[in-house]
Symmetry: C2
DNA sequence: GTAGTAACTAATTAAATTTTTAGTAATGGC
DNA sequence: GCCATTACTAAAAATTTAATTAGTTACTAC
């Protein structure tokens, strides 16, 4: 995740242009990052530790998971708590804004289920439950 | 846009995993593509031809704009009409689903405006109107 | 002191997306 | 015929994002 963006590129200029035009573009850039919504939903369901989220989301890597927690915290969607027990543990919980976003995303989820083009994948789900 | 996805990569597997888990992930993958929301909003406002959208969205390229129209059509969010006049013209209009999505995106837009982390950019807007 | 766990980070590599450049078909004007 | 226009497409280069590999710190168990 270390690689910095090239602020002199047209690629960067265009993204900035869109974010300045409408903050929606900034939020979409965030929530469309791979795994991030599922991490958010895990936390909503109480799966709120590094390890448990990692187990829940089969293929996610440590690097990405750490990055997603960091982003969600940065945008004040989740808050992090470090418990100084022995052994210590870290827990993530949704903030009010995070909960609000979950609700909005669930609405979009319902909408996407109603889209014929997204149904191709949904059909597969019925076989496994 | 020609380059095909590598279906044997873990990158591909992970995206598929997410899309099968929830169709939200497929829709987010679509709406987070650069320019696509703005193209959708242009059409909503009646800026509905290739050239007029291109003029409205300063930096967008032909390649991307054509791709975005194609994607929006594929997902039945917009419909394309070719008028056999002389000179011919092509117009895009929102479908019912497209209008529904716009409404949802506008809700998210309001939410993102209320997020402190997205406010940094919003402040800039006040200087220019 | 060696192995193991939780929660991470840094550097590298692989893959995807976006931008750039150049070109197409159909039509009209000169 | 040559240039201009609209609505595109194809191929390549640039940039960004995600995945992989290898490590860290602080602690417990043996």
């Amino acid at each position: 995740m270390a690689t910095e963006r090239k602020v002199t590129s047209t690629n960067y200029r265009n993204q900035s242009f869109l974010e300045e035009k409408c903050s929606l573009n900034e939020l979409l850039d965030l929530v469309s990052k791979r795994w991030i919504c599922e991490v958010l939903f895990c936390i909503e369901e109480g799966i709120n530790r590094f390890k448990s989220v990692k187990e829940e989301l089969s293929y996610i890597s440590d690097t990405i998971l750490a990055d997603r927690f960091r982003l969600l915290e940065k945008y004040d969607l989740v808050s992090k708590e470090h418990f100084d027990e022995i052994p210590f543990r870290v827990e993530y919980t949704l903030t009010e804004k995070g909960q609000e976003l979950c609700t909005l995303l669930e609405q979009i989820c319902n909408f996407s289920d109603s889209l014929p083009a997204c149904k191709i994948e949904s059909k597969k789900k019925t076989t496994s439950g």
